[in-house]
């Protein structure tokens, strides 16, 4: 007899959602989190997209610690001197809430406490060392030499899954699997944030930017999200680029972003309250490991079920969805009394049926565009020149747009044939 039906490693969105589902279905669950309290080590720019949580917490929109809901979504290209942006501000976003900003310290604690209230045994401040095997089957977890046994182990340990890797359940994480995320939380009065972003009440702004001003071939995206009394601002940097350019440091990129003439005014007078760096799943089906086996499943970032492309970071929604799917598979396995690889494979099938794996496959293509030189170098420069030349009065008759465009391309640092090729690739993948 095992001590628990299920052990969940990690109380992030994936682990806690999983534990809530398991415990509220009557399974005995141990949820282990190394941080105390949960969330105190977690980083997230923090827009929770979608309504996945409703499956385990129907009234989450009323009771979860949410900061603001997104009514205004910005996408911008930043060059040294310019910001070219499209802002989508819509009544539609006010009436259909699609995304909420959250602060992980509070949000993760809320979820973990929900798991506890549902009946899970929540242990915080302890790091699991490995999973325990018997006859090549996972039979529990190991910590400081003690084995705690369970019928199934769900690994939800985030983007640096030491337990899964050290136990040989997934390949080590490489540069192609992750980007580097950096985030600052900056405190400002609520009224100041509302004024600066033209918001009312708990309306929020979420912006993503191509950092087109970066030199040395390093590609990075920036994000800026409003919370109630803070702003989350950060950068997502291509890991391979960073490794290839020894002279570029991640904090320099962040510094250039926050001091950009069209970003700095948003932050003026604010006090940096938190600074953190974390791996971000870069997405793509290529990074997704074997998801389940005898006595175990892997969920959330640990299974690379997240996505970032230098523009948008999504992960919490996939984490929640996969965590719940793993719980459902465990519940079925419990009914069958069978926790073998064949039985737990229903987890993989659930992910294939809902949108998670489909999205991962699609991102494989999009990522090639969003991390491309076209997107990060040429487009910002071309756009800047086109707009500037269009509005700049020289006292001469206006030139034809196509003429300006051709000239801008010439000055973009990419050859015309290169551009056409990349643009063609981009169009095919979208």
């Amino acid at each position: 007899m095992s001590e628990f039906d299920a052990i969940v490693v990690g109380a992030g969105p994936a682990g806690s959602s999983s534990a809530i589902k398991l415990a509220s279905s009557g399974l005995s669950v141990l949820l282990v989190e190394r941080a105390d309290p949960p969330g105190s080590k977690n980083v997230s720019g923090g827009i929770l997209w979608g309504n996945e949580l409703a499956k385990v917490i129907p009234d989450w929109e009323k009771n979860a610690p949410l900061e603001r809901f997104v009514v205004s979504k910005g996408t911008g290209l930043l060059t040294d001197d310019s910001l070219i942006s499209i802002d989508f501000r819509s009544k539609k976003l006010e009436n259909n809430k699609t995304g909420y900003s959250v602060l992980r310290a509070k949000f993760d604690q809320f979820l973990a406490n929900k798991a506890k209230a549902s009946g899970a045994t929540l242990v915080t401040g302890v790091t699991v060392d490995k999973v325990a095997f018997k006859d090549r089957k996972v039979i529990g977890v190991e910590q400081e030499g003690d084995v705690i046994s369970s019928d199934v182990v769900i690994l939800a340990e985030g983007a640096n899954p030491r337990v899964a890797i050290d136990s040989g359940l997934r390949e080590p994480i490489g540069d192609r699997d992750v980007a580097i995320g950096i985030k600052e939380v900056i405190r400002l009065p609520e009224t100041t944030i509302n004024e600066r972003f033209n918001l009312r009440g708990s309306q929020g702004y979420a912006g993503e930017y191509v950092l087109g001003f970066l030199k040395d071939g390093v590609k990075a995206g920036g994000f800026l999200y409003t919370n109630k009394e803070t702003i989350s601002i950060g950068a997502v940097i291509n890991a391979a680029d960073l490794r290839a350019n020894n002279s570029t440091y991640s904090y320099n990129i962040m510094e250039q972003f926050v001091t950009h003439p069209f970003i700095a005014p948003y932050l003026e007078g604010g006090k940096v309250e938190e600074y953190s760096a974390h791996l971000v799943c870069e997405g793509g089906i290529k990074s997704v490991p074997r998801l389940s086996g005898d006595g175990y499943m892997i969920a959330g970032d640990s299974a690379s079920l997240g996505f970032s492309n230098g523009l948008v970071i999504q992960g919490m929604n996939y984490a929640i969805t996969s965590g719940i799917a793993a719980a459902e598979a465990a519940i079925e396995a419990k009914t069958k009394g069978n926790f073998s690889a064949a039985s737990l494979h229903s987890y993989d099938e659930k992910l294939a049926l809902n949108y998670v794996l489909e999205d991962m496959k699609n991102f494989k293509g999009i990522e090639g565009v969003t991390w491309s030189s076209l997107m990060h170098k040429a487009v910002p420069r071309i756009a800047e020149k086109v707009f500037f030349d269009m509005f700049y009065e020289t006292g001469e008759p206006k030139r034809h747009l196509s003429e300006i465009l051709l000239e801008s391309i010439a000055g973009s640092g990419m050859s015309k044939s290169q551009l056409i090729l990349e643009a063609y690739r981009a169009a095919r993948r979208m």
Binding site: E3, D36, A105, T121, V123, V126, R187, K271
Partner: protein
């Protein structure tokens, strides 16, 4: 053995409200008072070699249960939380008296370990206060302790050196923050702790006259809390070869004295 433990806000997470300029502890997580971790470790070392049971006693709000569970996760066997509205706003006198009553209720004890002082109020009164109310010996400022032939041998770190004390339990020992390296909690022990649970003792279970506890039993009055104003320091850049002039200046201002005067 008994450990006295207070849950305190993590000093690293207290911040000054940028608008109201007050200390905001609301976002600070509760942690075991640092020197109480050393007190627990001192007891665990004795448990490792001599065996025995360790009971943790803490007086505080319901949230302090978490810190007690953490102590049990490191090896304490039993946890007691003294919690009741009427205990609120106790000064060090009433706190010591209430804790002493709880110790008596636990009954048979040999060594009581307490931290030297806390990071949130830091009076250092409570350990010695409990010893006085119990009428037992105390050994303060210890950096190590062990049992030898029924005697407690402890090293006290004093300004002018280390003093080795040998005393017969029952005794209360206060432990300094540099005494040892506290161990981490273990998953096995934390699960067991959660299963066991923490006992909650209220005013009724201690059976103390109401006028002895909480704010009523506290003779101390806090007049006001003030942040001392920072004194502006004078400074000016000097070149190396100006040092003799600077020294003369400082002597003239009476800030330093030369050896011949002394």
């Amino acid at each position: 053995m008994i450990i006295l433990m207070k849950q305190v806000p993590d000093a690293e997470e207290i911040f000054i409200d940028p608008v109201k300029f007050t200390l905001n502890r609301s976002q600070a997580r509760g942690i075991i008072n640092p020197s109480d971790e050393n007190a627990l470790e001192a007891a665990l070392k004795i448990k490792d070699s001599e065996g025995g049971e360790i009971t943790v006693i803490s007086m505080g709000p319901p949230q302090a249960e978490n810190a007690i569970l953490e102590c049990m996760g490191r090896g304490a066997d039993r946890g007691i939380l003294i919690t009741d509205r009427v205990f609120a706003a106790a000064d060090t006198y009433a706190t010591s008296l209430t804790i002493a009553a709880a110790v008596k209720k636990v009954g048979d004890f040999d060594i009581i370990f307490a931290g030297e002082s806390t990071t949130d109020s830091g009076t250092g009164h409570v350990g010695p206060g409990v010893a006085e109310f119990l009428g037992i010996d105390q050994v303060t400022y210890t950096v190590s302790s062990r049992i030898e032939a029924g005697m407690l041998i402890a090293e006290r770190e004093l300004e002018d050196g280390i003093e080795v004390v040998s005393t017969k339990p029952p005794v209360l020992v206060t432990v300094l923050i540099n005494a040892n390296l506290p161990r981490r909690s273990r998953l096995r022990l934390k699960i067991d702790a959660i299963k066991k649970g923490v006992e909650k003792w209220d005013h009724d279970s201690l059976n103390l006259p109401p006028e002895w506890v909480g704010i009523k039993g506290s003779p101390t009055l806090v007049g006001a809390l003030k942040i001392p104003e920072e004194r502006k320091r004078e400074s000016r850049p000097i070149k190396l070869d100006e040092i003799p002039v600077l020294v003369q200046d400082l002597v003239k201002k009476g800030i330093i004295r030369t050896g011949d005067e002394a």
